[in-house]
Each structure stands twice: as structure tokens, then as C-alpha cells.
């Protein structure tokens, strides 16, 4: 037990160390513009050690930028699941609805956030709602599809119980279909949140909105490359934390 515990801590650290080594090697040889891990840390220190300072719109601590991004993602994610969940239920419940909209969904699903964003800007004229719109449009598909699959894979015995009891459509939905589908819906939520976070960078880069992605793009333009790496690491860590958090919520739901 002790050994495996050690391994579960040491091995990931070893992986990270190896990655830092490769990074250092690359910055010393083929990409001299790439700051080394050490230089990245030196230049990022003020942003990390004082994560919530604010010296103007585009010069803030990394914690503050992350918070701005998270709020934006929360809005987009909320919109995504508010639209995606009912849509998924409709797709799962109605053959007609499924036939009508499934091809459309399959076409919309692979469209990149970079393509949606200009459309959002045209529609809303402002960058903030355009970013939220883009996040929602990209992130909602896993929720839609998982919910629809969940509805279609409900144990037929459950539905038979409802039929024998002659439950009304509303009660059938409330007492049987929705609770039976919830574990699938939650898996959809988790995947959707992952995508929402993935999209944040692209949407902030294009709109120039303050946040981790906006900061990344600004620092690229200002040639402060170490801050690009700081942003990348921050995005990764937060994405990982979000996924773990949703995983816990998901499991709690499944065992309930």
C-alpha cells in the first residue's frame, strides 16, 4: 500500500520533471525565444504571488484573470445546459424531433469556436455576450447528446412500471424518465464544462476581453512570452480542477 501511494505521488512528479527538462532543452536549442521554465517563473512571480492585484484592465494578477474567465465560462456553461438539457430530452423522447434535428446537430457540433465568434459579434454587437454565446454553442452538444442517449437507454422495465400504473405524461417524466436519465445528464454536464473551458481562450483572444485567454494574447503581442506559458499552465490547472469537481458531483449523483 505504502509503495503504491509513493508511486502515485512520485510518478506524476517524475512526468512533470521530464516535461520541464524537455521544455528547458527546447528553449536552449531550437527555440531561443521560448523562455525556460526558470525564466518563466521569474517573470511570472509577481502575477502568481499577488494573484489579485489590479493595475488596469489588462494588467492584473493571474487569480483575478482566472476569476474573470471563470465567470464568463459559468455564464456560457449555464446557458449551454439550460438549452442543452431540454433539447436532449426532446431528442430522446420524440422520434419525430430526433429525425428533424439530429442531422442538424451533427453538422453544428464540429464547428469551431473561432467560427462562431464572429457570428456572435455580428448578432450581439458587443464582445461579452458574443463570448458567452460562443461558449454556450460549443459546449452544449455533449449535454444534448448524453441526455438524449440517457433517455433512450432507460430500462424498459421502468417504463413498463409507469405504463401499468397508467402515469400521466407529466408524472412519467417527473417520476421516471428524468430521474432515470440524470446520471447521463451529469456526464454530459461534465463534458460540456470541459469544452466551455476549452473555448474560453479562443473567445477571449478574439474579443480581447480581460481573462486568462485575453491576457495570453495580449502578452504575445507585447512579446512577454513567459506570460503565455503562465497562462497555459493556469488554464490547464483550472481545467483539471473543474473536471475533478464535476467528477465528484457526478459520482455523488450516481450513488444517490
Amino acid at each position: 500500500m505504502k509503495e503504491s501511494k509513493l508511486g502515485s505521488l512520485l510518478l506524476p512528479l517524475g512526468g512533470i520533471a521530464l516535461c520541464l527538462l524537455v521544455w528547458t532543452a527546447v528553449s536552449r536549442t531550437i527555440a531561443p525565444d521560448l523562455p525556460s521554465p526558470l525564466r518563466t517563473w521569474e517573470e511570472s512571480k509577481p502575477y502568481v504571488l499577488r494573484p489579485f492585484f489590479k493595475d488596469g484592465e489588462m494588467n492584473q494578477g493571474i487569480g483575478r484573470f482566472a476569476l474573470l474567465s471563470l465567470v464568463r465560462v459559468a455564464k456560457g456553461f449555464a446557458l449551454a445546459i439550460a438549452l442543452g438539457t431540454p433539447l436532449g430530452f426532446l431528442l430522446g423522447l420524440s422520434r419525430t424531433f430526433q429525425r428533424a434535428f439530429d442531422p442538424l446537430i451533427q453538422i453544428l457540433r464540429p464547428i469551431s469556436p473561432l467560427a462562431w465568434l464572429p457570428l456572435g459579434l455580428i448578432i450581439f454587437q458587443r464582445s461579452e455576450p458574443a463570448a458567452v454565446f460562443t461558449i454556450a454553442l460549443c459546449a452544449m452538444w455533449p449535454t444534448v447528446i448524453n441526455t438524449a442517449v440517457g433517455v433512450r437507454s432507460i430500462n424498459p422495465d421502468y417504463l413498463n412500471v409507469g405504463r401499468v400504473l397508467r402515469l400521466s405524461r407529466a408524472r412519467m417524466l417527473r417520476k421516471i424518465i428524468i430521474p432515470a436519465t440524470l446520471p447521463y445528464v451529469f456526464t454530459g454536464f461534465r463534458l460540456s464544462l470541459g469544452i466551455a473551458w476549452l473555448v474560453i481562450v479562443a473567445s477571449e483572444m478574439l474579443t480581447g476581453a480581460p481573462g486568462v485567454g485575453g491576457f495570453l494574447w495580449q502578452e504575445y503581442n507585447s512579446l512577454v512570452y513567459s506570460h503565455i506559458l503562465l497562462s497555459i499552465v493556469t488554464i490547464g490547472l483550472i481545467g483539471y480542477a473543474l473536471d475533478r469537481l464535476m467528477g465528484v458531483a457526478e459520482r455523488r449523483f450516481q450513488s444517490a
Binding site: 421502468y158 413498463n160 401499468v164 430521474p179 440524470l182
Partner: protein, 269 residues
């Protein structure tokens, strides 16, 4: 006229290799208050028979009448205890039963419905587990919940689809006793499907043997002339038990020989 009657019922499923006939020209007559068992080997279409009486499936031909009225769809007047219990996993024991009570007794107040559901849960000796979720229960306890829910439907016919097949011998014996106790108290018409001849003799007034599928048919019913409740030990000393057992087995075995013979003849030709 019988309380529940099936006449010339036929059911088939379409398959890739053409039509698969599950039940053919099936007749069944059950009197009110009677406990009837349908015994057949696995694959003889027993669950299909339950689904037909429950109205979850429609027969291709023939008719199913309950108290003279044709069965056109599912309803709580034919309460089903499903083979795999089918308890709603996200509801407590009480809520599973309550859902059935709510559906058949909308005229009662919330308190009255709850009291009724609680009474049924106690009737199947699950008072202690009232607020547990199905995954916290043993197989035997889940089966009791399923029975309580079946009774909560206040069915005119209670359909039991291999109710005890997934249980260990001890649990099965105690649940069988309990079922008879409840039946003697409530005097509901019960149709139980089983592949266990001993179980059928222990519980039922009459036994309908079902031939092996495909195209299963019903044999002549066999009366079990023994008073209830029957204990499995005492029953062994009754000549009536052995008589009934012999009749059912000789029918089922005879059928198997006949179908085996037909198969062999087919191979020979």
C-alpha cells in the same frame, strides 16, 4: 364464465429469419380469488404471457378478457410483479409503493395515501427498511417491495413473473409462505409464472403446464387438492402432492420427448 380468460391467444415476434411464434392457440381460464400457477421450461414464453395479460403487449390473434371486458392496454387492475423487481432505484421503499398508491387512489388525502403505503410495506415485513433505497436491500427484500407495490395497485389480478427465481432457497421458502399468507388474507386472484414445479404445487390451486417453445401451448390444468397454507415439509407426506407433481412432470417431460422426437425425425429426414 371465468374471471380471467385467454382464448386462442397467439403471439409472435418478427425476426431476421422470419416470424418466431412464441405462443400459439393459448387458452387459460382463471376463477375469481383463485391462485393459479403457469409452469413451463425457460424459453416457453412465460414472460410473454405475463406481458399479454398485463396489456404491455397485444396478441396477434385471440382475445383476453378480464371479468368479461377485453384487455386493451396496461392498467393497475392487473398489477405486475416483474421478474427483476423493476424497483425505481432513485426512490425509497416507501416511495416506490407510494407511487402505486397515488396512481390508484387519487381520491385519498396525502396522509391517507402515505398511511396506506406504510401499511403495505409493513405487510411484507419491511417496516424497518421503509426509507432505504433499493440498492441497500437484499434480493429477497427487493422482491418484497415489488410484492407490496403490486398489492398497492389493488389489482383484480396480481401477475407474478417468476417472483422467486433469483432468490436463495431459504429466502424463497419464507417468501412463499408470506405470499400465501397475504393471499389468504386478501383473496386476490393471482397468476404466478414459474419454472419450479414444487413451488407451483406448494402455492397454487391449479397448475397450467406450458409446453416448450417455440409456439408454446397450454396443457390441461392440474388441480392441487390440498388445503392452504401448505408447509413444504408436510406437503411431502401428502399423496395429493406426489400425484400433482407426477402429472405436471409427466406432461412437461412428455412434451420434451415429443419435441425431441420431432427434432430427431427432422434430422433423419
Amino acid at each position: 364464465m371465468a374471471f380471467l380468460s385467454l382464448r386462442g391467444v397467439r403471439k409472435s415476434h418478427p425476426t431476421a429469419r422470419g416470424e418466431h411464434v412464441v405462443l400459439r392457440d393459448l387458452d387459460l381460464e382463471v376463477n375469481e380469488g383463485e391462485f393459479v400457477a403457469v409452469v413451463g421450461p425457460s424459453g416457453s414464453g412465460k414472460t410473454t404471457l405475463v406481458s399479454l395479460i398485463a396489456g404491455l403487449m397485444r396478441p396477434d390473434a385471440g382475445e383476453i378478457l378480464l371479468d368479461g371486458a377485453p384487455v386493451t392496454g396496461p392498467g393497475p387492475d392487473r398489477g405486475v410483479v416483474f421478474q427483476n423487481y423493476s424497483l425505481l432505484a432513485w426512490m425509497s421503499v416507501l416511495d416506490n409503493v407510494l407511487l402505486a398508491v397515488e396512481s390508484v387512489s387519487p381520491e385519498l388525502s396525502a396522509d391517507e395515501r402515505r398511511a396506506k403505503a406504510e401499511r403495505l410495506v409493513r405487510l411484507v415485513n419491511l417496516g424497518e427498511a421503509m426509507h432505504k433505497k433499493p440498492h441497500q436491500l437484499s434480493g429477497g427484500m427487493r422482491q418484497r417491495v415489488a410484492v407490496a407495490r403490486g398489492l398497492a395497485m389493488e389489482p383484480r389480478v396480481l401477475l407474478l413473473d417468476e417472483p422467486f427465481s433469483a432468490l436463495d432457497a431459504l429466502t424463497r421458502a419464507s417468501l412463499q409462505q408470506e405470499l400465501v399468507r397475504i393471499w389468504m388474507r386478501e383473496r386476490r386472484t393471482i397468476v404466478m409464472i414459474t419454472n419450479d414445479v414444487e413451488e407451483a404445487i406448494l402455492l397454487a390451486d391449479r397448475i397450467f403446464p406450458l409446453t416448450a417453445g417455440p409456439g408454446a401451448r397450454m396443457g390441461t390444468p392440474i388441480d392441487v387438492r390440498m388445503p392452504h397454507p401448505r408447509s413444504s415439509r408436510a406437503v411431502n407426506l401428502e399423496p395429493a402432492y406426489h400425484e400433482a407433481r407426477r402429472s405436471v412432470l409427466s406432461f412437461l417431460v412428455g412434451q420434451r420427448r415429443a419435441s425431441l422426437g420431432a427434432t430427431l425425425a427432422g434430422v433423419g429426414a
